[in-house]
């Protein structure tokens, strides 16, 4: 049981280390860029304003 716990803690540490390395090297793939956030804002505004003018 104790061995299992130690093994699991090691596994958690391994997974955390992988993310720490990715983070340190700024190697996250497919992160949301400024373009994504602008696109999301514009899409939301267009839908809200457009449908407000059409339906409200």
């Amino acid at each position: 049981m104790e061995n299992n716990d130690i093994a699991w803690q090691q596994e958690l540490a391994r997974r955390a280390r992988i993310y720490e390395d990715v983070e340190a090297g700024d190697r996250f793939e497919g992160t949301m860029s400024t373009l994504d956030y602008c696109g999301m804002t514009v899409l939301t505004l267009v839908l809200v304003v457009g449908f407000w003018l059409w339906g409200a």
Binding site: Q9, E11, F28, G30, D36
Partner: protein, 487 residues
């Protein structure tokens, strides 16, 4: 000698593979972050999974409720506006961090509310929401069966009668049985029901449009507008849809952790959750207003005639069971994840049954809940909108999109997310502020509202207030006390 070494090598390899499989299964359950290489869903896979979740019979119910307040033209506008705002804010608060780190949503929540605080949030946001939905969907099942029997016998249906209650209790018991057997049986139902529901929606839309032109439909009045002020009715309809959008908060983060990256975790929500839910609600709205009845189990029999009506009702009953199984399974998996050792010690079947007791009570003693179910939905938004605001403020503005996987998953008692006895008083206070702001601006029970409600809705100020309080108090008090490892 060589054979002996090779055999030993194979045996070691097999043990390593078994251990890797065990670790991966544990990570999938949420005990550890999923690594990028372990995540399988791309854009379209996640879009399909999202759509399958969103295309459910509750979309008909929400659409029908919108028809009580406004006519189809205003209703379609309210559905689009409410859902896009709710879904975008909810997805920002939950899916971006899950997509980046592969972290389980309620484990990540330890960074916002503390390891015990995240348990409180789980009970408030997931357990109560799921119990309410289980009761509403069971009653919808019961009404479908009651309507079906009435149609077959050529009698009038009695939607609150004994037959409905017995069928609803049967639905909960059957759901308990299905979920107790494990996820494989649920997957089978999902694969059949989601595409079939799309076909049902298209068929319903065709039947409605074959009786009314689009111009006629858009000009129809609301079924039962509560106020003389049309703008107020419209904003209440927007609020119902904001609540529908925010109601995905407990679920989409944990789906998004299965996606390959942050972008793939975010955008499919717009297409899948927003698109599919809006489509289903619009069908429900048009049918309700065209047939003068907001309850789908009644308008389906009117729109399609007895024969097709019987098939449609049977299918709705079946589809409800699938939705019930999905939400019950997800909630109990999460409950065991956040629960204490004593909760984990309860057997799978027993904990499922205990969870079903409150829905049983609601079905038997409060069947009126079904007709005013939107009140329950809007209540949940008082919590979910505040949770979204806190999530965005914490992850984007206080932590700069950085989470510490080691601290989130390691021993919590002396870790940085201990805060105060495992609770972050700031996060919980911000949640309470968001809730109070919501109820002060708009009371879901009485529909009474402040004048500002007409311009701001209630979910948006609640989201903003909770986020702002969390941000300011964390900046002022958390860092000095060493709480929460804020940069």
């Amino acid at each position: 000698m060589t054979d002996h070494v090779a055999h030993e090598h194979l045996s070691t390899l097999k043990t390593e593979q078994e251990e890797a499989a065990r670790n991966r299964a544990a990570a999938e359950r949420g005990d550890a972050p999923l690594l990028p290489s372990e995540r399988l869903w791309g854009f379209w896979e996640f879009t399909y999974a999202n759509s399958a979740l969103a295309i459910a019979t509750w979309a008909f119910l929400i659409g029908g409720s919108v028809g009580l307040f406004v006519g189809p033209k205003e209703g379609i506008a309210a559905i689009v506006i409410g859902n896009i705002v709710g879904v975008v804010l909810t997805a920002l608060a939950t899916t971006t961090m899950s997509g980046r780190y592969g972290v389980e949503q309620f484990v990540a929540l330890r960074s916002q509310f503390g390891y015990n605080g995240s348990r409180v949030v789980y009970v408030l946001a997931v357990v109560i929401l799921t119990m309410g939905w289980l009761a509403v969907l069971a009653m919808m099942f019961g009404r479908s069966i009651d309507g079906l029997m009435a149609l077959s016998a050529g009698e009038a249906a009695n939607p609150t009668g004994a037959k409905m209650i017995i069928a609803a209790i049967g639905a909960i018991l059957l759901t308990w049985f299905i979920v107790a057997k494990g996820p494989t049986s649920i997957k089978f139902f999902n694969m059949v029901v989601s595409p079939a529901l799309v076909l049902l929606m298209v068929a319903m839309l065709y039947l409605i449009l074959s009786h009314h032109s689009i111009g006629e439909l858009l000009a129809l009045p609301a079924l039962a507008p509560p106020f003389e002020d049309k703008t107020l009715n419209f904003i209440v309809a927007v609020e119902v849809n904001l609540a529908a959008g925010f109601s995905w908060w407990p679920y989409i983060g944990n789906l998004a952790r299965l996606t390959k990256n942050e972008r793939t975790a975010f955008w499919p929500n717009i297409l899948g959750i927003f698109g599919a839910a809006a489509l289903g609600e619009i069908v429900g709205l048009l049918a309700a207003v065209a047939l003068g009845e907001s309850d789908p189990t009644i308008w389906m029999t009117k729109i399609a005639g007895p024969m097709i009506g019987i098939v449609a009702l049977l299918f709705v009953a079946f589809a409800n069971m699938t939705s019930m199984a999905n939400i019950l399974y997800t909630s109990i998996v999460g409950l065991r994840q956040v629960g204490t050792a004593s909760v984990r010690a309860i057997s799978w079947g027993a904990i499922l049954f205990l969870f079903c007791l409150i829905p049983f009570g609601l079905v038997v003693f409060y069947p009126q809940m079904y007709d005013g179910f939107f009140i329950f939905l809007v209540w949940t938004s008082a919590l979910n909108s505040a949770l979204a605001g806190i999530g965005i403020a914490d992850y984007f503005f206080l932590r700069g999109q950085k989470l510490d996987m080691r601290s989130l998953h390691g021993p919590q008692e002396n870790g940085p997310y201990r805060f105060w006895a495992g609770f972050n008083p700031i996060g919980l206070f911000a949640l309470a502020v968001g809730f109070i702001v919501y109820v002060a601006v708009f009371n879901p029970q009485t529909l009474a509202s402040l004048p500002a409600f007409k311009y701001l809705t209630a979910s948006v100020p609640s989201c903003l207030a909770a986020g702002a309080v969390h941000y300011v108090l964390t900046r002022l008090f958390a860092r000095g006390r060493g709480w929460g490892q804020y940069p």
